[in-house]
Assembly symmetry: C2
Homo-oligomer: 293 residues x 2
């Protein structure tokens, strides 16, 4: 399969059909379990992310906003963006960012407005920036998300190369805080129930097709672990104090591995972080930043 410059130009900026996502506290709690919460089931600081009657008040992890756009992920996994067709097995989730505009409710219906913001020609593949604005039932913006998707083998169509954003690299000094957590061997099986049912995360045979020795953890699950690390160390576990987060998925994680998130406070409202797989000493989330208050 290949793509033409005309197809790319037609796709850019074209709003796609809005869709809705309806959820309950059960979905919020299941997501939190999928990203490792609570580290200690007896600690009210994180129990509140999974227990709707918590004395601390039930709280929604800000990274839950990525679940609002599961439909977009489904659509892209079908191998089509606008008129552009591709092999979904060639797709890699490159980066994810989100900005929280209003504390996420613990239940409700969210309306999501997706648009292809840009498409770049990286030679070896095509980089697609997919933006989604998510609104609550009163029409207020809840969250704005950008997913960058790299599709191998779909480059060289004569488009703009774009730049490579190397800001938010890990500073060359010891981190101000670190958080280490072992994931469960079943972590991907829990996380996938939040909506990303790509077989790559459950099926040994499909993982082999993808070139992995066994199923890999969802990058967005690791993203949630990192979100929890920032919340714990810089926001006193107050979910409303984290208003933005972005990261690059630089390497896969196998369920059961230990994640260490290293964090640097670089401004009153900014934390740069990176997450590593301890067992393989690989950086798995990089060029990552959180905005806090």
């Amino acid at each position: 399969m290949s793509v033409t410059l005309e197809q790319v130009q037609a796709a850019i900026g074209k709003p796609q059909a809005p869709f809705t996502y309806t959820y309950t506290p059960r979905d919020v709690a299941l997501y939190a379990l999928g990203v490792g919460a609570p580290a200690d089931p007896l600690d009210p600081d994180e129990l509140k992310f999974v227990y709707e009657l918590s004395g601390e008040g039930f709280a929604v992890l800000p990274s839950f906003a990525v679940i609002y756009i599961s439909q977009t992920i489904h659509d892209i996994l079908s191998g089509r963006i606008g008129d552009i067709e591709f092999n979904p097995m060639m797709l890699v989730h490159g980066e994810q960012s989100l900005v929280i505009k209003k504390p996420l409710p613990s239940a409700g219906t969210v309306t999501c407005h997706p648009v292809i913001a840009d498409i770049f020609d990286k030679g070896s593949g095509m980089l697609v920036l997919n933006d989604v604005v998510c609104k609550d039932e009163s029409g207020d913006e809840l969250a704005v998300l950008r997913s960058s998707m790299f599709i191998r083998g779909m480059g060289d169509f004569g488009g703009e190369r774009g730049t490579s954003d190397k800001s938010d690299a890990a500073p060359d000094r010891p981190p101000d805080a670190t958080m280490t957590e072992q994931t469960s061997p079943k972590q991907a099986l829990i996380y996938r129930l939040s909506g990303d049912v790509n077989p790559l995360h459950a099926d040994p045979a499909m993982a082999a097709v993808g070139g992995f020795e066994k199923p890999i953890l969802h990058g967005l699950s690791t993203f949630g672990y990192a979100t929890r690390a920032v919340l714990k160390h810089f926001c006193d576990n107050d979910a409303t104090r984290l208003t933005g987060i972005k990261a690059r998925f630089s390497k896969h994680v196998f369920p059961g591995e230990t994640l260490v998130t290293e964090m640097w406070r670089v401004a009153d409202s900014a934390v740069i972080f990176q997450t590593k797989s301890v067992e393989r000493d690989e950086v798995v989330l990089s060029y990552a930043r959180a905005t806090i208050s």
Copy 2:
């Protein structure tokens, strides 16, 4: 609160309002995770209980039928059976049995017909037998369940004492098979998302009110672990070969403890089993039997 013989006699045999339970493969998989499946995420034998695209075919654990009657558990937890009111904190789930009439579908709507089968006066409390017949969308019986509930402090109303069924005690010889598994410290937090959201299983403060040092695992989660043990050792993990299971909840389990299920083949179609907490050397499921084919 107390109860009169007239109230008891009026409640016995009176059908209660039917209710429905609608579910999807996601609910089936979440339940399986709540009872510890899969022991090994890479082993197709149990992956099929949590992965809807499994090459082995998606399979429903027969003990999932207990989820059909979650509404009954909710109703009883509200502290009312017929006209009888009681303090729900005095309620203990005594025994559970289920008979599978037809392999459980991986999705659909089940209609449940509950009735109070009997109520006994045990002196120190009242023993209520609640029967539910569950039917599929074509009206066929899928499963028949009996839950026995003991309500402390509600005895001495002048009713029948009933007998104490000591059949299916563990034989006085070494078991034919055993299965040992450590539960997750988060096991109750996962299991509760299948519908039994009693705070006793999540909230340290509520557990203390119930006299426990910390939240306890759902007895029905342990019941699911035992079901998996029988399936593995006597049914080659073929979910359709287990057609009946019953057990008494003789002691609590704390999430994170190790469960060992000891099994004795007592007939071609019958396995007696018991489950223990290894750390406390306590029998937690007793007088337990599975019917297999």
